[in-house]
Structure formats: structure tokens, C-alpha cells
Amino acid sequence: MAYLELNNVYKSYGEGDNRTDVLSNINLSIEEGEFVAIVGFTGSGKTTLVNLINGLLKPTSGEVLFKGEPVVDTSHERGVIFQNYSLLPWLTVGQNVYMAVKEAFPKEKKAFLMKRVKDYVGMVSLTPAINKRPKELSGGMRQRVAVARALAMNPEMIIMDEPLGALDALTRGNLQDEILNIWSQDKRTALLITNDVDEGIYMADRIIPLKPGPNATLGPEFKIDIERPRDKTAMNDNPNFKKTRNAIIEYLMDIGEARKSVSNEIYELPDIAPKSFVA
């Protein structure tokens, strides 16, 4: 039995005529300790998929199993890093992390919780900014706080919803390394949602493309056979990397084309000429 399993999951919003089917027939299984990336176009239903897995949404039909149990609600076992950081702006960095830690370890003493907060804020190298509010931080720093908050709860699985989407390339690279570093320390199961194929290849063991919605479904998976730890610069020359990258991009381009060609109606333009007011 897989660690996380999605069986024939359908998700639609609305009722009757307003009904839009976002996801259909999603089947996914992730083993313990695996790092899986799901790559897809914007608007293809990636966030919906994440919310189904973390328990914020319920599938219209089908089942989401986590360790064999159906997911009915959010759980501390599954930590989430949101796309838009979602820090509480009226709390400082320390307070944001503390709030999460306190919920995850309700029985522990305050000293333990404080130490944990400090450790995790230190881990994302934000110790000097621990008493600052989110508005005083840069985007990358805010995302690191979100990472620290999710990890400080000691989840068994980390779900990342385009965590680095809003960052510039350099910060992005650094944070990718940081996340990988943390992941490799205790090999938690990780699910990364991204729109960046390179990011997926660099970080994950497996990449699964999500066909664009409506009725988005998962495509064939691509295994990444590149030794860890991976080196970003060396990887560019790795034939395996090139092959996988090309295959995935080709696949995505194909479904992109297919999507375009669906609407090949020809519009007939009316035959009109400007009227002459002179004669």
C-alpha cells in the first residue's frame, strides 16, 4: 500500500449548469520518503489538487488515502507550504512559527516550543529577522518563514504548492537547495507542485505532468535517474537530464497544442467596406 494514494478522484465546483469539472480521474500513489513533483500549466487545477491532498477540499467522487486512511480534514501530519506564503501580517516571524509549533505540540512546555521556533527560524537563516513582521521582509525571506512554519510542525509529509513561483531565479535556486537539504536530512515524503520543469527535475524523484483543465488529469510519469546530491551546473550536461527534460517539455507542448486545436472554429468576418461620405 502506498503512503499517499488518490483513486479515481474527481473534483468539480458548482452545481447544474454552472458546474465546472476541474479534475477528473486522478490516480496517484506516492511511496514513503519519495519526492514527487507535479508539473502543469497555470490554471490546470494544481492548487485544487493540493487542497484535496491536504484536506482543505473534499473530492466530488473517488478517494484520497493517506497511510491507508481516507483524508477527511487537515492534519498536522501533512504540512503545507502555500503558494502565497500566507503569513499572518500582524505577527512577527517568531510568532508566526510559534503559533504553528504550539498547535503541533500542545502538551509541550513553552521553553521547548521556543527552542523549536528558534531552531527552525535559524535553519532557514532568518534568526536576525525573528522579531520582524512579514512586511519588513523580502519575498524570499517570507517564503523561508513559510517553509520554517511548515517544517517546525514536524509533518510526515510536506506538500508544497508552487512555493517558489513568485521568486526571482537566484532566490529560487537558493531556496530549492535549502528545501532539498532539509528534505534529505530526514527523508520526509514530499510533494511539489510547480510550473517549472527544470525545478521539478532538479528536486524530484518522479515528475507527473498535469494535463490542463477543465477535466484535468495526470499524464504519464517520468522517472528522474540522476544521482543525489544533484549539482545544478553539472546537471545541465547530464544526458539523462537532457533526455528527461526534452521528453517532459515535448509532452507538455503536445498537450498544449492539443488544447489549442480543440477550438478550431472558423469565424467568418462580415464583408463590410467603409462608406464614402464624399460622393
Binding site: 491536504n54 484536506g55 482543505l56 480534514d73 487537515t74 492534519s75 498536522h76 504540512g79 503545507v80 502555500f82 502565497n84 506564503y85 500566507s86 503569513l87 499572518l88 501580517p89 500582524w90 505577527l91 512577527t92 517568531g94 510568532q95 510559534y98 503559533m99 504553528a100 498547535e103 503541533a104 521556543m114 521556533v117 528558534k118 534568526t127 536576525p128 525573528i130 522579531n131 513582521r133 512579514p134 512586511k135 517570507r142 510542525m153
Partner: protein, 366 residues
Amino acid sequence: MEQDITLNKEGQGLAFLKPLVAKFTPKFQKGDLVPWLKKSGITLLSILLFLGLWHMGSKALYNIEANYKIEKALTEQGQVAADAERDCIASGESSCQPNTLPSPTQVWASLQTLIADHKVINADKAAFNQKMAATNAKLVAKGKNAIVYTGRASFVDIVLTSIKTVFAGFLLALLIAVPIGVVIGLSPSLRSAFNWFIQIFKPVSPVVWYLLVFMIVKTLYIGDSSDNAFVISFISVGLCAMWATLVNTAMGVSSVDKDYINVAKVLKLGTFQKIFKVILPSSLPLIFTGLRITLSVAWMVLIAIELLAQSQGLGLFVWEEFQNGANDSNAKIIVAMFVIGIIGFLLDRIMLSVQNMVSFNKNEGV
């Protein structure tokens, strides 16, 4: 670098005093002087201009009324009476002065009178208390009520009564409107259930609120001879003013960013934790905007309600002075007007700084 985490709301307690302190300890740098002079010079100039226009206006009104009086004496009683009237007005005798818009100097003089009056009353009160101290001690020892000073209230007492009423009303509004607002904000079904109630009662005039409260309080206090004017007026003020807070709170609570709600869900906060740690903090800016409007509405309706309720405040003071028609009554009314305006301004400033203290940019967390 080892740093302590402050988990309390650090730097917030008295942070709102910072701008105030900064205002009173200006740090002048070279080049600041000219803009500063310009700014305060223009303010000063506008005040002088205002006083000048006021002075000239009141002078013109004074002349109109004086001329009319002389003219009237001339047509009704002849030349001798007209001359007597003219001399009387010129001599400044109070019995024949035109009773019109007072000039700035008259208003200033009235302010001095009111302050002097306050001192006299205070001395009177102190003397009374001293005289009665021994008697009162005996009365209290016997378990009876002490005899208190019941002379007329001074202007300062009147202002304090008004401020007390407005704060009591504001507190009442806060205690009613914020909890109800939170509850309706949280539940869409309650919101639609309460909507008619809010829509109907929100536009009701202060006078009608007063009458409604009067009907109820009068019955509750039946058989009790104690003065219930204060109770009636503060309840009416509170009921008049609470709507802005109620509506704003409900709106703030119902429009909490979905991201924050998701965070609360993912962290698995309990219902109370969710309300107090996520929903309330994120709607505080809107709640305080509502409270600020509430306070200014409360101060505005206070005057009318005190007048109706016969509560010893500024509203009644203004009305009584108008009915009184004494020579300096008009000047006293203008003094009261300025006091009302200045206190209203100060209250608004206080609320504004509190509001700035609790507000944050909605996109800061994103």
C-alpha cells in the same frame, strides 16, 4: 547572533505615543526652518483671517441691530428717546445692547467669565464640603447618605459630564456592536436574519432613539426619585452611534482573507483560537474604523440628546444659554461651540492613532 523572541505584542503598547512625542520634540535640521515657518505661518495667517472676518461680520450685525433700535425709538417715541437709546448703546450699558453674533473679544471675555465662575463654584464647593465634613461623618457612621453639594454646575463640570456621557455611550456601543458584529460576520445565515434589523434601525434619528430609551428607562426607574438623565442620555448616545461599528465589524469579520482561513485550517486551530488569533486580528483595522466613526457620531448626537434629556452637559448648557437671553449668553454659546469642536477633534485624533496602531496593510503577509 542570539536573539530573544518576543511573543507578546512588543513595541505596541505605547507605540502610538511615539508620533506624539516626536511632534513635541522636533528635531530641527538645517533647511527645516523655512518650510516649517511657511507651514505654521500659513496656519497662523488663516486663523487671523478667520478672526478678522468674524470680527467684521459681528461688527456689521451689531450695527444693523443698533441702527434698527435707534430707528424704532425715533419712529415710536421721537427724537429724545432716539438720542437716549444711542447714548445708552454707546455707553455699553447692558440693558440696551444689541443681542447678536458676539465678536471674538466678547467670546474671549465670556470664556474668562466661565473660568472665573468655575473657580468661584469650586471654592464654594470646597467650603461646603469642609463645613459639612463633621456632619457627614456622623451621617455615614449612622449608615445614612452623606449630604453632597447640589449647587449649580460650573462650565468645567458641564464639559466633564458631556465627556463622561460620550464615553459611557461609546463603551456601550462597543460592548453591543463588536460582539454582535463578530457573530453576524461569522454566520451568513445570521447576517441575513439580522439584516432587516440593521437596515431599519440604522437611519433612525437621535431624537427618536432618545424617546425610545426614555420610555423604557422611565418605567425601569419607576418610583425612584434619583436623576436618570445621565443613564438615558448615555444609552441613547450608544444606541445612535453603534451602527457604524456593527456594520464594519460584520464586514471585517466576513471578509477575512481566505489565505488566513486556510492557514487556520491547516494549523488546525480550534474555533476560539481561530476567532481570536486569526479572524479578529485581521478585522481589527475595519473594527477600529467603525469605532472611530462611532465616537464622532456619539459626540455629535450627544448635544441634541443632552438637550432633550436635561442632562447637565454641553447640550443643555447651550440650550439654556439660548433660552436665558442674557447679554453674554450668545458669547457663551460660541464658547461652548468651540469647546465642542475642539473636544470632537481631539477624540477623533485619539481614535485615529489607535486605529493606525492596530492596522496593517492587507497584502503584508502575501
